[in-house]
Amino acid sequence: MSMIHKTATEMAQALADKSITAVELTQQHLDRIAAVDGDIHAFLHVDSEGALAQASESDKHRAAGTARSALEGIPLALKDVLTQKGVPTTCGSKMLEGWRPPYDSTVVTKLKNAGVVILGKTNMDEFAMGSSTENSAYGPTHNPWALDRIPGGSGGGSAAALAAFEAPLAIGTDTGGSIRQPAAVTGTVGVKPTYGGVSRYGLVAFSSSLDQAGPCARTVLDTALLHEAIAGYDERDSTSINAPVPQVVAAAKRQDVKGMKIGVIKELMGDGFQKGVLDSFKQSLDLLQEQGAEIVEVSCPSFDYGIAAYYLIAPSEASSNLARFDSMRYGIRVGDDGKRGAEEVMSATREVGFGKEVKRRIILGTYALSSGYYDAYYGSAQKVRTLIKRDFEAAFGVADVLVSPSTPTTAFKIGERANDPLAMYLADITTIPVNMAGIGGMSLPSGLSADDGLPVGFQIMSPAMQDDRMYRVGGTLEAALNDKLGKPVWAQAPELAVK
């Protein structure tokens, strides 16, 4: 019997009951990918052989009674920005076409140690720069809810794989919303852990002070199980937090928000928000109140400057980080005719290897960091970052968690904003402040928008290293929504054509 429409928790139970093997479960997902991914294009690379070998290993562990974790034998889709030894890693860029990393990222090491089966690498905006996955050099991913719409970005491939039942678990990375915004527009769950909560070792860097890998799944509990599997201190990441991982699984199961104070951020629900998104958001607030939470309004005036500051800080860091793509040690090399010097070859390679958005951000970052402009742009953006942190500190002084819609609108059409970078950047207005302050953020589906029938995301933010709080609220809201709506949002996705 096919299990692809079940949750990871149910799959793990079936594996424990021996009603299915990990090899069978993996094969079901590989078959699903073969059947639907021609239309979705969630995957850039499917590692059938490697996945089945891992699954076979997993079955041996289960049989011997030595299951390595609660997720032993569960399949997962990995964003193509994390290295996995010997498996192609492109970051959605021509620059890294054909590169097979010689080492595992810490996230992958932890997944392997937990017995999780890695199915393949998922599509993304080039070097994680974008909000629609249209910036991938390998073509866009399509939203399983409506194939002519974007699946969000940059982690559109991971989110679409979950919504299309190609995998029950996925890994994303979130620099300005790249886990949460795709989760919101595909009706799935995504968490950006506290900065430093999950190791960045082997995560190809975009903006190092903002980048954070995190778990994605269809339910809050599945997301929590994956969170615990990948989180924790890593001496190979100098910004890794040396403290115990928050108890997110227990929090996801708690189903109780009595006495909690939930702060609604006034600035993240005004003009520019779709009516159906706001209606769904307010319905969720009512449900949380019914569950015994107290709703309070908070004001974070500096958030209005969040996008402007982000589009100075992230490109500045990117212009430095992406200097590593010099055509000397890995990736493609163009124009090496034996006559041209290293700098000429480098310049020719970067012209061909980088796409439009990446070039735009490198130039913007180089400008913002250049002498004469540094104080006015990068320096000012860093001050806004301080103001955003202060706004959060004040808000968390009166509320245990903060909430907002995850995105201002539901999924927009492919091509609609592709030639308007400023319109595209607005997609992250709600998610960026979390990255600037280094705190935790979750998006979970709160229903379908009445105006277009597409999924809406509800964002929960918690203070640094208090990630358990967002799981506690998320788990409670998810259960209340399932009661009210009859079934989970992700279970209402339209049937896909099977080839």
Partner: protein, 99 residues
Amino acid sequence: MAAISREEVAHLARLSRIEMTPDELDHLASEMQLILGAVARVQEVAAADIPPTSHALPMTNVFRPDVTKPSLSPEDALSGAPAREEDRFKVPQILGDAE
């Protein structure tokens, strides 16, 4: 806000080691104008007495013990090289005129 010229964009492209076509430079110059106009808003609230934040977490001088550990073999380290010679990365000429 000062206008950004096509020549400035060309200079930034040179600094970034990206060999852009004339069309790309034209297009990017107009886009940069728009984007810089939007992001310049940060100056409205960036008062002199606000300290900058470069990193969200209070962290300084993270050290590890200085001990030797297994690392990549030469074969692994060179596995992605566009060109190699023996156990080295082979790169185009760096100093002086090529040929």
